[in-house]
Symmetry: C2
Subunit: 199 residues, 2 copies
């Protein structure tokens, strides 16, 4: 395990994960073979297998790492006092992660069912934990009196709005991810606001 702690190897491993995610996103997990991955990362089979154990393990790591990062940043954001501030940080971090890890999210959304039962359960559990941090922020806002009472459709509606952007976000597009995050945050706060303006 020590090998993963050395900086050189860490970045080599990250390069392999990133390249694999991009290949899987472009051509499909099942269509990409290890030989193709070897060529893409310009490593021999031995060197490649020094960093990864199997194609399924790659899928597992790709699916797990971005959501683990999101849990870490959301846990930190949850320490803010103001629930509106928490939601805005959660939204900003999520949009930036989607923009920087679009291939990883694409692969996870498409292929998470290809993981073995145990690994599938673990990745789904990370998503449940992440969702729980949004739930806490929404409940905190309701307690503070700035958000409407919490319910699960509100949570799913807000998360859906953000997550769906993995399909349309263009990192090099005319609208930068800062602008997109701000706009989606504004929509989330409208959804969460205590007083309805819709009726």
């Amino acid at each position: 395990m020590l090998v993963f702690m050395k900086t050189g190897d860490l970045s080599q491993r990250e390069r392999i994960l990133k390249t694999a995610a991009q290949l899987f996103a472009r051509r499909g997990f099942h269509a990409v073979g290890m030989t193709e991955l070897q060529e893409a990362v310009q490593l021999g089979r031995g060197a490649l297998y020094h960093h990864i154990r199997s194609k399924e393990e790659l899928l597992y790591d790709i699916s797990r790492e971005y959501i683990s990062d999101l849990i870490a940043s959301a846990t930190e954001a949850g320490e803010e006092q103001d629930a509106r501030e928490i939601i805005q940080r959660l939204g900003r971090d999520l949009v930036h992660k989607i923009a920087s890890h679009q291939a990883e999210l694409t692969v996870c959304f498409r292929e998470v069912h290809s993981l073995t039962a145990e690994r599938h359960a673990e990745v789904m559990d990370l998503h449940v934990r992440y969702e729980g941090l949004w739930r806490s922020a929404m409940k905190k806002g309701a307690d503070q009196g700035c958000f409407r009472p919490y319910d699960s459709i509100l949570l799913k509606g807000v998360l859906g709005m953000y997550f769906y952007s993995y399909l349309w976000l263009r990192p090099g597009g005319a609208l930068g991810s800062n602008v997109i995050a701000e706009r989606l945050n504004e929509l989330a706060l409208r959804m969460l606001a205590r007083d309805s303006v819709a009726n």
Copy 2:
């Protein structure tokens, strides 16, 4: 082609499509073979190939039919006078289609990239047309003075909220799809409302 126009064959074909969608959603498009599908629909190879030409064609039909239906109902809804009424009909029809065709949406979201270039383009074009009908309703509402000015992030945000429900909607769950549609519609109208309450 005449064979598809006979009622008996139509429903047989629909049964095959529905079963295939459920198999693909559960086990993955690449993991399911034609023999497994034959067994699931209880048809011999000859009888099965009377209705479909290939596994890719099944994927094509699964991906195309629900969105074609949505375009038809959204075109009709677009004739309403009141833009808020149009949005509510679009939202209701979408949630009901997701609830009744959850396997089809799951397969399309996961596997649309497995289609040949031409078929992929055709299915994506149907999604663009469907999105265009939501755009028209949003612009109509802006012209009528009940919605804020249209922009593309607003469109993607609203659509994302609805579409993401293919991942969490439980047709037999405690909340029926009517209730879910009403709640998501209310959130959509909050996002679209002219006056901001969020700031």
